[in-house]
Symmetry: C2
Subunit: 360 residues, 2 copies
Amino acid sequence: MISLTVDLGPRSYPILIGSGLLTRRGLLDPWLRKRDVLVVTNETLAPVYLEPVLGLLAGSRTGSVILPDGEAHKTLATAGYILDALVEQRFGRDAVLLSLGGGVVGDIGGFAAAIYQRGIDFLQVPTTLLAQVDSSVGGKTGVNHPAGKNLIGAFHQPLCVLSDTDTLQTLPERELRAGLAEVVKYGLIADAELFGWLEHQADALLRREPAALHHVIRRSCEIKAAVVAEDEREKGRRALLNLGHTFGHAIEHCAGYGNWLHGEAVAAGMCMAAEFSRRLGWLDQGEVRRIRSLLSRLGLPVDPPATDPVDFHHAMAMDKKVIAGQIRLVLLREVGEADVVSDYPAGLLAEQLGTQLRAG
Amino acid sequence: MISLTVDLGPRSYPILIGSGLLTRRGLLDPWLRKRDVLVVTNETLAPVYLEPVLGLLAGSRTGSVILPDGEAHKTLATAGYILDALVEQRFGRDAVLLSLGGGVVGDIGGFAAAIYQRGIDFLQVPTTLLAQVDSSVGGKTGVNHPAGKNLIGAFHQPLCVLSDTDTLQTLPERELRAGLAEVVKYGLIADAELFGWLEHQADALLRREPAALHHVIRRSCEIKAAVVAEDEREKGRRALLNLGHTFGHAIEHCAGYGNWLHGEAVAAGMCMAAEFSRRLGWLDQGEVRRIRSLLSRLGLPVDPPATDPVDFHHAMAMDKKVIAGQIRLVLLREVGEADVVSDYPAGLLAEQLGTQLRAG
């Protein structure tokens, strides 16, 4: 097991990464200290993981909430359902909420923890690659609004993130690939060496070789922890983590939530960002091709679906990255270096959307 | 106009108190800087104050949400309605929410601001005495759950609190009195001199003499600002501000939200806390009588309604001040000094509830 720290002063916390962690009794005791725990998970994961996790919580009074699976249920109403469970079980301000699952469960559970009694403690136990490399770390919690992803939410840091890498062995293929999109993102924004490593080790990752998975989880968490420590509330540098996400959120929105996985939309979104970077003269065609090629080898989509460009632009503008009406975009200077831009020529974006979306 | 500061480091903010502030164009400019503003108010206040407030916001794009009046509407669903308005009007992360009204509007509006796009800025423009002396200051925001008051919420500090004391001249009599309950609370927990002053000036306050109102708003805000600065998240001393509130929340709950005003319930709740303090041997009968006498002169209830003691105790236990199952109570050492207690004999509380509630 390795332990990384997200350094946020009084809100610092560890990310524990390793094999077999869900069977290590006592591992969570330092954070739980026998307090009441509500486990939030979904109907797909509960049959597999609920029992081992309740085993980890011996000594606590426990309850569980089992949500329907999928992004379509990441709503304020579902968060309300978790709050009802906390109230019904008479859990107090010192109770702990444990999110067991992927990004959706982590985001909703964390949000419910953020607003129950003005904030109770919570633990993240991510079981998908996407959640282990990205969404469980950094304290972003929230739910979707019909008009856009994560429009409702809070910053609420967990007490601890516990990533048992064994859970990835049974992850559906499509979800494994979606998680790899976020790993590629870390390479693109901050670590050209990681990007190169992925180009060589793509097959090992798709074969789920434990050493390869362990390497990308560790490196992704190191990069994310460093960025979050520097800019917890996304006033500046943290925005780089949104590479591909403004395009990606628009893809998810226009395709209908749940039809594209988040990681798939981010993959195609990163290709759109790379293409726009090229149109601005930042990247050359070879680099764009290299990015598309890696994502393709990882089984990820590299083009958006056919969509009305006006609807798509509207959906992009609904994303949170809009400051005073201008859509902020994360673009690439080169592989390994990104920048946030909002002073690009608007016509250039419209032109790209017109070409790519009709062809998509 | 006077200006007090709530000293919270980077989240510090001023409380502006004075006459005619709602007509002073430009007063809010330093906080707004022409950003978009959504005004949240209710159907009672909108006809009187919405126009002057929109006048203060000249230079900003504005929208407004008019809620039904009353505590019964302080729900997650109402907060969702405000979020819908923010989305529909395409307000971004840099927009500002302005709560114009009493405690209910301030709490819901602040909560919506706390969770829209993981937190946007907000301004408090309280128009009731209760909001001016208490709820607008300190960053507690939230909504009720059917099982208990303020069970859902967030800490979210405003950018500025603007209290125009002229609004109190048209406040319904009952609401003025309810606000005075919180002023008495400040005297009881922290300032015996203020309590004595209230005993002498009760009539001036009920006649709404501007100098008397100005004095109690200022002194109340000074006390609250000092307590909040010391303990923003209620880990310790801030809990003293809940004197009368655990009993009071149970009264509100058992009587049905909206039948008792919050301040009325707090008044009777403070008398219950005083009586329990006497039963523990902290206060003598003369002090209990003095407290009841002042609250009575201010036209406030000093006894709880007739209720089943078991239901009442259950409602008290649902209050957020429960730590690991034991109900924490704020009790009085003397007039001007309070303490948080959870190691009292449980039988003594049951005995008091049995006597007081059946007689109520």
